[in-house]
């Protein structure tokens, strides 16, 4: 067992190291000079050199890399020149917004995927199944920003059911006291029901927009797995014990069909947590996606490097969690300790 854990940890370390190296190198391979961008088009060569010195860009690459890595671990994530703030300040201000949106998008996608896959396969009604498959096709093929605009138009502009693109809260609602950086959680902790409701209302449309494609993907995967499993022998055996169709499905078919879905879900979660540019743009969401894109364009090394590394860590952590969950659900993954 320790062997497996060590293997996994080693793999995680390699993944994070690789991601940091790639982020570092890509930024430097891209033509252009950040020092030049900072000091402006009219600066003298001396000023540029001075700026390069200040940023450490004249040092050999490996020294720069070492500074980056050791900075990450000592909590010094560098300075975002494009905004004039520390990288840490920017990320702490923006990442939670993206993470909260991603979290709810994932919850929406995951729960509805399970529900719809069960409905599609349970009664084997062709029409229902076809409808759900069609829906998942549409979900996979719809550009999220377009869907977001459409939803805003219908539900906010025309029907006025939900708030427009105001970001995380309405203009008259102050954020709750910070604990987790998720407004919904913080509002609950502070007991501010009004703020909680407001935050939820603002989350509904962007979460649906962001979660639709992962939902569609998971429905297709889970539906296929459920169909396979429900044809398995042991489902008939369970039914022959006097267990009802629904119980046999939920207690036996679903956990088995779940396994491949879990891996996919983990990857999707990690992806969603770290934000999506277009959806954030449409909903005026103060997330990290937009900021990172701008930083790439401005060659703001410190921001991009830190963000890539944090994303890599998020991926790795989520996948480790998936592996652990796998072991919980599927006994065959655990090593046979005793025979």
């Amino acid at each position: 067992m320790t062997r497996i854990v060590l293997d996994k940890l080693f793999g995680a370390g390699v993944a994070i190291f690789g991601a940091s190296l790639l982020a570092f190198l890509f930024m430097r391979v891209v033509p252009g000079n950040p020092a030049r961008l900072i000091v402006g088009p009219l600066a003298t060569p001396q000023a540029i050199t001075a700026q390069e010195h200040a940023m450490g860009l004249n040092k050999p690459l490996w020294v720069q890399y070492w500074r980056y890595i050791s900075g990450i671990f000592s909590g010094n994530w560098g300075f975002a020149y494009s905004t004039g703030q520390t990288v840490k300040h920017e990320i702490v201000a923006r990442l939670p917004a993206s993470a909260e949106l991603g979290f709810y998008a994932f919850v929406f996608a995951f729960l509805f995927a399970i529900l719809f896959a069960l409905v599609a396969t349970y009664r084997r009604r062709r029409l229902v199944d076809a409808a759900i498959r069609g829906l998942s096709f549409i979900g996979l093929g719809t550009p999220p920003f377009w869907l977001g605009l459409l939803l805003l138009l219908l539900l906010s502009q025309i029907w006025g059911i939900l708030p427009g693109p105001e970001g995380r809260l309405g203009p008259n609602t102050p954020p709750p006291p910070t604990v987790t950086h998720f407004y919904t959680f913080d509002a609950l902790i502070a007991g501010q029901w009004g703020t909680f409701w407001n935050a939820i209302q603002h989350l509904v449309l962007p979460a649906i927009t962001l979660g639709l494609a992962p939902f569609a993907y998971l429905v297709r995967l889970l539906r296929a797995n459920l169909l396979d499993i429900s044809r398995e022998n042991f489902i008939v055996v369970v039914r022959s014990k006097g267990v009802g169709r629904w119980s046999a499905f939920v207690r036996h078919a679903l956990p088995n069909a779940f396994l491949p879905t879990l891996t996919a879900a983990g990857l999707l979660l990690a992806q969603l947590l770290t934000g999506t540019v277009l959806v954030e743009e449409v909903f005026n969401w103060p997330g990290i996606g937009q900021f990172v894109v701008e930083s790439i364009l401005r060659q703001d090394y410190a921001v991009v490097q830190t963000f890539v590394l944090l994303s890599a860590i998020a991926y790795v952590v989520v996948n480790l969690l998936v592996d652990v969950l796998y072991g919980v659900i599927d006994p065959r993954v655990r090593l046979p300790v005793a025979r």
Partner: protein
Amino acid sequence: MSGATARVVSARESARDLVLEVEELETDFYTQEGVVHAVRRVSLEVERGQRVGIVGESGSGKSALALSIVGLIEPPGRIVGGTVRLNGRDISRYSDRQLQRIRGREVSLIFQDPMTALDPVKTIGDQIVEVIRQHRPMRRAAARREAVRLLQDVEVPYAERRLDNYPHQYSGGMRQRVMIAIALANTPDLIIADEPTTALDVTTQAQVLDLLERLVTERSTAVLLITHNLGIVAEFCNRVFVMYAGRVVERASVERLFAVQAHPYSEALLRCVPRPDQLERGPLPTIPGAPPNLAHLPPGCPFEPRCPVGHGVELCVTTVPPPVLVANSGDPVLAECHFAGERYR
């Protein structure tokens, strides 16, 4: 079985104590090839505590029959006719909810392949407890103790410890013992065992069969044993039904069937059982040809193309043989062959 004979026979048999009485049961499968008639108006009966064998080649509709009896035919299959009486009640019109109270309590199933019959992500204990608690109001702890007793009954060593193992930690033979434990958990009146030993190796087969025999004898449970192996029938059963192409073509006591076969198919089946004392050099005897396609049955006797007696005979080609009562001295033999009367002398 059709018409008058069925009614005559079953009228006489209603006086006996029947656990299971199947009449004219019909199951079709709606496939792309057409409608496959897997079970074609099959009638059979099992007395309390009796052990009845159903023999036939693969594809003769045996497994579909087993599932039809307990109403577990899934689409594209459908039961299209007939009645099933269990302990005197007609369960063929029961809803699935009503059948759920019967399955696992009054009638249990044991399936062919123990490797795929257990849920791989649940412990053995949980899977036994499930069937106990499905039918008896019992606390988890009590049901677990009951499960340990059952595992001990089916001779799983270290039962208490192995209760929390998962199926992949059990061998095939052990898994089939678990299946027997699950089938016996609520002491049903009838166990339908569909090729219970076919997937096991030979030594394990004998052990599992002996175990099943001991346990059903102790509890006087009736068994409907579905098999292609006449050796097992000879060892285990009192009565035997020979199935061919979805029909019961001969019914007799085991002694009678092994002595004289009224149907040429029974005779051919019996000849295919290898006997070590009579083995000669050369290939083992087989029945030439294959069973008919159940979606496109011939107009006459379904065995005619392979039959050593009736092949090419006009009567056999054109007319489905009715059941013929060839012996009726308290031990009736019925066979669906135009020549059954002649052959049975």
